[in-house]
C-alpha cells in the first residue's frame, strides 16, 4: 500500500516544491493569508472543489501551506471542499442520486465549507 502510493506522493511534493519556488511567499500570504478576506476564501473553495487530491496527500500539503503563511481559515475551506464537494465526480454521483439532487448536495456542501472555514478562522 505504501509503495503503491509513493510515486503519487513524490509527484505532489515535487510539484509543490516547484510551485512554492515560482510563487513568492508574499504573493501567497497576500492571496491566502490572514488578511486575504473573501477572495482567498473563494480561491481555496474553488480549487478544493475541482481538484481530486487524496486526503492523505492533502494534509501534508495543508501543513506546507500553513508554514508558507496561509491562514487556517483558508486551509479549512480548502480541505473541506476537497473532501465534500466533487465537481469532477459529479457525473458519477448523478448516476446514484440524479443530477438535480447531486448539484444540490454539492452546493450545500460548498456553502457549508465556507461556514466551517469562517468559524475555524475565529478560533485559530
Amino acid at each position: 500500500m505504501f509503495l503503491g502510493l509513493l510515486p503519487t506522493v513524490l509527484n505532489v511534493l515535487i510539484l509543490v516544491s516547484i510551485f512554492l519556488f515560482l510563487i513568492p511567499q508574499e504573493t501567497i500570504i497576500r492571496l491566502l493569508g490572514k488578511n486575504s478576506g473573501a477572495l482567498g476564501m473563494m480561491i481555496a473553495a474553488v480549487i478544493g472543489s475541482i481538484s481530486l487530491i487524496p486526503a492523505f496527500i492533502s494534509y501534508p500539503l495543508a501543513s506546507i501551506l500553513i508554514k508558507s503563511g496561509v491562514s487556517y481559515r483558508v486551509v479549512a475551506i480548502f480541505i473541506t471542499t476537497l473532501l465534500m464537494v466533487g465537481v469532477l465526480t459529479l457525473p458519477i454521483e448523478a448516476k446514484f442520486f440524479g443530477l438535480k439532487v447531486s448539484i444540490m448536495r454539492n452546493t450545500l456542501s460548498f456553502i457549508g465549507a465556507l461556514v466551517i472555514g469562517l468559524i475555524i478562522g475565529i478560533f485559530l
Binding site: 510515486p7 519556488f21 481530486l52 494534509y59 501534508p60 486551509v75 448536495r105 475555524i120 485559530l124
Partner: protein, 175 residues
Amino acid sequence: MKKYILSGMFVIFLIASFYFNLSYGKSMGNNFWIFFKEMITFLPFMFILVGLFDVWFPREKVEKHIGKQSGIKGTVWVILLAMLQAGPLYGAFPVTYLLWKKGCSIKNIFIYLGAFSTLKIPMLTFEIGFLGLRFSLLRTVVTLPVFILIGKIMEMYLRDKKFEVKQPLLEKRRM
C-alpha cells in the same frame, strides 16, 4: 515505471543544478527535502494505525446496527459506520445504495456522505499528525452540525418527491 518519470526528471534537474551551481535548483531541492523528511517520518506510522483500526473495528459489526432504526440512534450508527471506512467520496456512493436498500432514511444517507467525506478515522490520524490535534478537533466539532443540517435540508426538500438511490453498476462489485 511511468509513474516515476517526473521524479527522475526532478533528480536529474537537481543534480545538474548542483553541478552548475544554480541557485533556483538548490532552493527547489531544499523545499523538497524539508517536505520529504516530514512525510517519510509520518507516513509509515499512520499506515500502521490505519491497519490496526481496520482489525479492531470490523465494518460488518457496525453495519448490523443500521436496520430500519431512525432518529438519533440511527444517525449515530450511520456516522460511526462512515468513520470506520476509507477511500475517496465516490467510493461512498455504492454504500449509500446498500443503506438505502436497508431502509436508511434520506437524512441519514446524506449524513453518511458527510461523515464519510470528513470524519473518516484513518484520515483523521493523518490530519492530527500534520495539522495538530487542536485543528482536527475544532474542524470535527464545527463540521458535524453542518452536515447534519445538510442532511435535514435534503430530507425536507426530497420528502415529498420521488427520490431513490440507484445502483448504476450492472455487475456486482465487491465493496
